[in-house]
Symmetry: none
């Protein structure tokens, strides 16, 4: 029995409001030994005040030592065991551009590539064709490829990358990549790895044949390769598991897509953090749970720019009063993982988390930061336990057993 | 999917060097309430400096409250779930005397015992016959017992105890003990508990018949009993799971044997701690991972000698500069469990651990000790997560998912 099975049995409804504020890649590292992390260096009076009123801790997105990608990082945060609920590469790519996958879909990551007159690949990325050129080509394929009994969607991603989604009953997701991962050879044929994916391989072969004819006159993008065939991951929804009507407020397609996979409603079309809080205010009456995603802490960490990450954290701190003014029953602030500027990448370091509610057992932490959180009352825990803690603090979990 | 499955997917290679220094039974207890533990009482300037530069925590060898034996303690430390990877008693006894088990072996713990003229046991331990007498008897059996199609090895352990190993294809390890655990009755016949162990039971019966003839004239050790039949445990190797070339540097056969079970190379034949570090220096270029085992912290704990344990800890502290001079990418110091002199035995208390690397997120701990480690940045964790943490700090684990 996993934590979801337990929560399903115990969940109950009330009028509480839960807000989960996620600063992507929030956790960090000092630039030199003994220094401060980005969060510790930032001036964050509002977050520090929350730490004083609440309870802090450190959260492992997956397990100690494991660095998560954005998909597993968010699934963990949403309370879904990221090792159990795997998102295929094609499904993640489709999700990342905001394509809403249906249960009968198979999604595929595709590359435009260049082949010579004998059909051998000369450039696996079609000269990294710019998006302005590749986008119209993807649209052209979307409009012109026609396969009886199958809905075909072709969507541009960036440069040579695009996504194809096949929609029809009976399409399995286990088809081998057609990208041979080298030049000087022809793309491989799509080969099914199981009986259930036989039809998918046939559909993919038909797609490739039609697309090659349509692309034949292109100087660079005259062919394509396919990778990461995958079905929509099957996940129970927030309503089913937690009994909450959940809203996701995010600017980036990837995070809207991930939230959609667990059945959250995507509300508003905010671009900035201030706009996200506008949406939060507007949607306040309609939902029980709000996931608010702030991207730029991660982006500046990935850039390796410590000072810029500090600044985005201060910007994030600035909107806290607007959130607390709404009077959430439970407010949690955390990241989906650490992205230390020092490493310019995601990392395994546990991410600081704070939780404020009337019944949270305050711990004496005086600031929100990695070092302070070590002695926080939440201790160190795996991200999948955050949702049960939020529900408990909201009075939404009954006693287990008599 | 367990942590090994995850690590297998994510491991990558680089030029990093990882050193795991294990002071056996390191954790302790104060002799009176409010006092210091052995580690806290010891003068350990080098370990304290590592704690300042690194990150500390407390490690549960198995689960909270569970006291490990040496086998499970080390398996946990090596990252192998000690509850999943069980080492049978016979296999552990063989491992403990440095016998290198092969995959087709069945190992058995044996006792010399005394039977009367009617074949009933009068002494289950043959008068605790001294090793000088029992050793030659074991050698005599080793040379004279002959079973067609089976290699038979008889090795002395200590006093009345010895080990028998049967080597042949098709020998299962499930045979009931022949030791009736009481006197006044005859030893039991070896009975197979499953079909696969039928042949093992027959081989054991033949061994007993021949051995009893060979021992018939002995005044005390005129018979034997067999316990803990077990196959070589099937464990993936360090290379398979972690992708590292691992070396074990230890003076005691038991720890060399345990390291061998997980595929570590046993390097050198050191007797003292200084000699172990000599071996470490010599082998530095050839391996990625070094397990260095220091026995005497545990021995003095088992003796119940607080002051002597303090002294061995100070000796251990003294070699740290020779290790850091090698410039390991990641250095961890811990024990396989606690052995408080106060209890004169292994205990369940979590064992302090410290980890130093350039990217370890220092935590403000100023000394290495049980109390200081409570507020260490590693928190409290199960020993099986130490290896993932070491690999992560060495840059040897890729991101999980996109």
């Amino acid at each position: 029995m996993d934590i979801h099975d337990l929560v399903r049995q115990l969940r109950s409804k009330n009028d509480s409001k839960i807000v989960l504020l996620v600063a992507d890649g929030l956790g960090g590292l000092p630039m030199e030994p003994g220094g401060k992390t980005e969060l510790e260096a930032a001036r964050t009076p509002n977050l520090d005040e929350l730490a004083r009123r609440g309870i802090s801790g450190l959260m492992h997105p997956i397990k100690p030592g494991i660095t998560p990608g954005s998909g597993p990082g968010h699934l963990g945060l949403f309370g879904y065991d990221p090792v159990k609920y795997l998102i295929g590469r094609g499904a993640l790519e489709a999700t990342g551009i905001g394509f809403k996958l249906e249960p009968t879909d198979v999604a595929v990551r595709c590359n435009f590539c260049t082949v010579d007159s004998s059909g051998k690949i000369t450039d696996r990325r079609a000269g990294r064709i710019p998006t302005e050129k590749s986008g119209p080509l993807a649209d052209m394929l979307d409009q012109n490829v026609s396969i009886p009994g199958v809905e075909v969607f072709v969507r541009p991603v960036k440069e040579h990358r695009f996504v194809v989604v096949f929609r029809a009953a009976g399409l399995g997701g286990h088809v081998a990549d057609t990208d041979p991962q080298k030049t000087g050879v022809a793309p491989l044929d799509p080969v099914a790895a199981d009986q259930a994916s036989q039809r998918t391989a046939e559909v993919a072969a038909e797609f490739i044949a039609q697309a090659r004819k349509l692309l034949a006159d292109q100087p660079e993008a005259n062919c394509l390769s396919m990778r990461g065939f995958s079905e929509k991951p099957h996940m129970p929804t927030y309503e089913e598991v937690y009994g909450v009507r959940a809203a996701a407020i995010a600017a980036y397609p990837m995070y809207k897509g991930l939230a959609q996979l667990v059945g959250m409603a995507i509300v508003g079309q905010p671009d900035t953090l201030e706009q996200e809080i506008d949406v939060l205010e507007q949607a306040w009456g309609e939902f029980d749970f709000f996931f608010v995603h702030f991207k730029y802490t991660d982006s500046r960490g990935e850039d390796g720019d410590f000072d810029a990450k500090v600044k985005t954290i201060e910007e994030f701190d600035g909107i806290i009063p607007r959130v607390t003014a709404l009077g959430p029953t439970v407010l949690a602030v955390t990241g989906d993982h650490s992205t230390p500027a020092r490493l310019a990448s995601h990392s395994w370091h546990p991410v600081p988390v704070l939780l404020v509610s009337d019944v949270c057992r305050t711990d004496g932490c005086q600031a929100f930061g990695e070092t302070a959180a070590i002695c926080g009352g939440l201790g160190q825990f795996e991200a999948v336990y955050l949702m049960p803690l939020l529900l408990a603090n909201a009075g939404r979990l009954e006693k287990f057993g008599a």
